[in-house]
Symmetry: C2
């Protein structure tokens, strides 16, 4: 076995071509072993095995610096840079994260999990190298899917003017997570169809030299191409055509499904665990939108390359026709286009992960909110119970977006509330509306009659005294449980409030509370800094009412246990009741 003997890239350089082929097969086996038991990004890694071997054969990492975009194709790199055990042995699975990580290895330069950043980040490495009079190659590896992102395109344009060594390896597997969208993909196709010879060439138009590798899973061709560009004194794009999922038949055939996987049975491809929830917000949203679309041709569902987040399977996308738009990985385009659709009387719905919404602060503020266009944004995985990798946290969206004027940011507790909010948001034309979709599916069957057009009206769900609990969205049930525990402990019945509105205050209700409440506590499922609770603390700052805000500390968490994080932030029912008892 070769892989077991690879402790560093030097060990790759000792192999001959046949041995490298054998190594590639072993690496795929190790990938399959880990991914079938642990889950992770599948297709992109299977496609990049040969290219990674060839890069480490030709270049001298870490003096030559390789930056992987989004890290979805970095597992083979990890295997060849001293971390093979994490793919060979189950007990070492947790030695590595799913992303490049400088804390793991000197061969990794950035902790990366968002797309479209590699060229820009690597351009900085090259710039510092030159300023310091150092040498070495800087290589950015980027997938075709990531090319549509604004940061990648800015980086490509910038790179075209660099007068120095800078290599961009474009891993073209003709797929994003789902299929690619955007005009540039026709150019990539033209280049593939002409063996890179077409005169009209995006990379050359951006000012780069260009090398084409027809079979990006052929180690010899790759070695030749990388040797050709090594030590280049000009920026150059190496366009390699790879097969996503190569070596695992199901993944070769079903590319979208196998972009990423949960643990599965390698023989059948069937997921190991079964999903047994009562429902999920993605499926609910897809069903809801299909109803709406059928009734109103101006309803338009928008995704920025992650249609599955709101349940839009390939079949539903097809059925939706022109009422569905995938802009590709291009969140800025999604936000601004949604604003334009609303301006011209359409009803845009954009479903997006909390973490990726981060790419659009300016578009939310300038393109949407200054213009007060009635865009509806559903924010998914915005919770401590969302993804738990440091690059994909959903705990910052409240501070990021709720302080933008004109935006109405709503926090539903149940699927019934979510539905009512969607109804209101899509039918009104006055406000940009974002809805913070909970992660945990809750249905209480109650009809929602609330009129959301009366902005910033909270709802008292339990009238009590002495202490009021403002429990926002997905932390509402925590608030209810805490109220029970407080009653048990102190005999006092707390007032419980569902605020619904993250972006504004029910000042009338808050004023009223002053007469019969000594304390108001707030609960929110995100970081406290800049969030919901602090505004309540400000409101009561010069009054006799005491406040305490519950939520998460401002920090970057990584691969955390949610229950542990809640405990550390005094977010258990017992802890809250204990604190409140002391306050009263």
């Amino acid at each position: 076995m070769y892989l077991e003997k690879i402790n560093a890239p030097e060990d790759v350089k000792k192999l001959n071509i046949d041995e490298m082929h054998a190594l590639a097969a072993e690496m795929r086996k190790a990938l399959l072993f880990r991914l079938s038991k642990h889950g992770g990004h599948f297709g992109p890694n299977f496609g990049m095995v040969e290219a990674t071997i060839a890069m480490h054969y030709v270049f001298d990492s870490p003096k030559d610096q390789i930056v992987y975009d989004v890290s979805h194709q970095s597992y083979p790199h990890k295997m060849l840079t001293g971390r093979k055990d994490a793919y060979l042995y189950e007990e070492h699975f947790d030695d590595v994260s799913g992303y490049t990580n400088p804390e793991e290895s000197e061969h990794d330069f950035f902790n990366v999990g968002h797309t479209s950043t590699s060229i820009s980040l690597a351009s900085g490495l090259a710039k510092a190298r030159d300023l310091n009079g150092e040498t070495g190659n800087v290589i950015a590896v980027i997938g075709d899917g990531s090319l549509s992102g604004g940061e990648a395109l800015e980086g490509l344009d910038f790179a075209g003017e660099m007068d120095t060594n800078f290599i961009i390896v474009v891993n073209d597997n003709d797929m994003s997570i789902a299929e690619n969208h955007g005009g540039l993909y026709r150019n990539l196709k033209l280049l593939r169809d002409t063996d890179g010879k077409a005169e009209c060439n995006l990379f050359r138009a951006m000012g780069l030299d260009y090398v084409f590798v027809k079979d990006g899973n052929d180690i010899s061709s790759l070695i030749a191409a990388f040797r050709q560009v090594k030590d280049s004194t000009k920026p150059v794009a190496v366009h390699i055509v790879t097969q996503k999922g190569k070596g695992y038949e199901l993944a070769e055939q079903h590319k979208e499904q196998w972009h990423w996987c949960m643990p599965f049975d390698p023989a059948t491809g069937k997921p190991a665990g079964s999903f047994d929830g009562d429902g999920d917000y993605g499926t609910f949203t897809a069903n809801y939108l299909q109803e709406k679309m059928a009734a109103d041709p101006s309803v338009c569902a928008i995704t920025s390359a992650t249609p599955a987040v709101f349940g839009f399977t390939p079949e539903i996308r097809k059925k939706a026709g022109k009422q569905f738009v995938d802009v590709g990985i291009a969140e800025e385009q999604a936000a601004a286009m949604a604003s334009g659709i609303a301006k011209n009387g359409g009803k845009p719905f954009w479903g997006v992960y909390s973490s990726f919404l981060q790419r659009t602060y300016d578009q939310l503020s300038q393109d949407i909110c200054i213009n007060k266009n009635a865009v509806t944004i559903a924010v998914f995985a915005a919770s401590v119970f969302g993804m738990n990798d440091v690059t994909h946290l959903g705990i910052y969206d409240i501070p990021m977006i709720s302080n933008i004027p004109n935006l109405v940011y709503l926090a539903p507790v149940t699927v019934e509330e979510y539905r009512a909010m969607l109804d209101w948001a899509l039918d009104q034309t006055e406000h940009p509306v974002a809805i913070r979709v909970p992660v945990q599916y809750v249905s209480d069957g109650k009809a929602v009659t609330k009129d959301f057009s009366q902005l910033n009206r909270y709802e008292v769900t339990q009238q009590g005294s002495d202490v009021a609990i403002l429990a926002l969205g997905s932390f509402y049930s925590l608030g209810v449980a805490a109220a029970e525990k407080i009653q048990e402990k102190t005999g006092i019945t707390p007032t419980v409030i569902n605020p619904y509105f993250i972006t504004g205050q029910d000042t009338e209700l808050l004023e009223q509370l002053k007469s019969s409440h000594k304390a108001v506590i707030t609960l929110e499922d995100g970081v406290l800094d800049g969030g919901f609770g602090e505004k309540i603390a400000r409101f009561y700052g010069d009054s006799a009412v005491k406040t305490r805000c519950y939520g998460l500390k401002k920090e970057f968490l990584d691969r955390y246990d949610a229950q542990e994080v809640l405990r550390e932030n005094r977010l258990t029912v017992e802890q809250i009741a204990e604190d409140v008892a002391k306050m009263l």
Copy 2:
């Protein structure tokens, strides 16, 4: 005179070509009249006179919808769409803003002031038109300088796949605010040099059809080109070559200087007012950086197309050589590249307007802060005293960036503190640091000995009792004046504190204050929601200390009077003293 008779685009359609030439001359005269007395964007408007006439001659606004990028070239459009008086008569100057504005006219579709948004916004107009089964042309007008922005490039890529009428007019005057930077500008040059015939063509590579107009100041050629694309059923780029500043010799010769102007004498081009401050932070920063660069070749000054904001004139840029990088209008690239430079041991300094920093939330969070790379960011015009157009406000950066973990955001009061913060930020390697540069220049000559590496240590500058005033950055002097007034009114000497750190709390000091202070007030030069003061209110929420936060209400202000806004937010010395007297 023709212009006086133009009340709507229909009136343009009645003119023959000679009359249109005469109209163009009158429009330039009107532009010169207004701009010399009022200031505004100069060069881009002078270059777009003919194209605007031709568009309104060929297309039928507002049924055909024209969206202007950044609005710097929209004055001729305003003149031809019922707003000529604002250019002809001084008493009507204030009838219009400097930007397209739907509240002014049905011919304007968005309030736009940031660059690179027109294609994305317009693509939404086209999408809604199609969903609603309507007809009409949608036209996005974008300058070459704006093309380098991520949102524009995402839009261009998206547009290339639109299977419908969509026209992008690329106004290529071969300039951004300063000179263009990026590889794509070599392609624009190639296209200009080959009369649009080069096979390698960025627009075609993005999937668009392409039409070239060699002389974009020739009305006849423009009319012919626009007629050719009118009612196109495919997306098409019309690349027109215009002369920035055309018709005013000084502006033709000094394009960067005449991108934008203050009031000036039309005969000489000399500014009407004189600048008589003691100094300014731009010049200071340029001098400081030049010193640093001379001493350390790894110091790198970065701008995203606005080098003047930190005093980098063309001469200084030239002198700085490789230690200066203009990434073009590409803030995402600037942020991520800075992270890469820091990672490889360089010392990146990025100077950027508060309003444009908004384009980089995700890059600040993911590319810089998760990776803890020691980037130094100087944030300019971040104040109620900054720009006062709704699209350029500098009052949101505290909520936007200060809630991102790992970032150290500092607020200097004086130029001496600014210098000390720059020294620390550039020399340390532990933290990403942003510095909120005041707008009003204050120098007190005092040496700063503070050690900023001891994070989150506030400084008591006046020890008093009963009430403590935490006065942040540019509002420090307001805090000092309020303290004097409070003393005068109540006899109590307030404690005055310079917090320095926006992003963290001196909890030890805040705890100490509890023993001898009944109230703590905070002052910050920005919106309160999500800001500095609310965190103080949270800190004291469950204690006996009362708090009151001073700052601005969360809203979009437009063309405001700063003193009036301060009064409305109870931010005068008298109002603060009055409130505090009541609290005590």
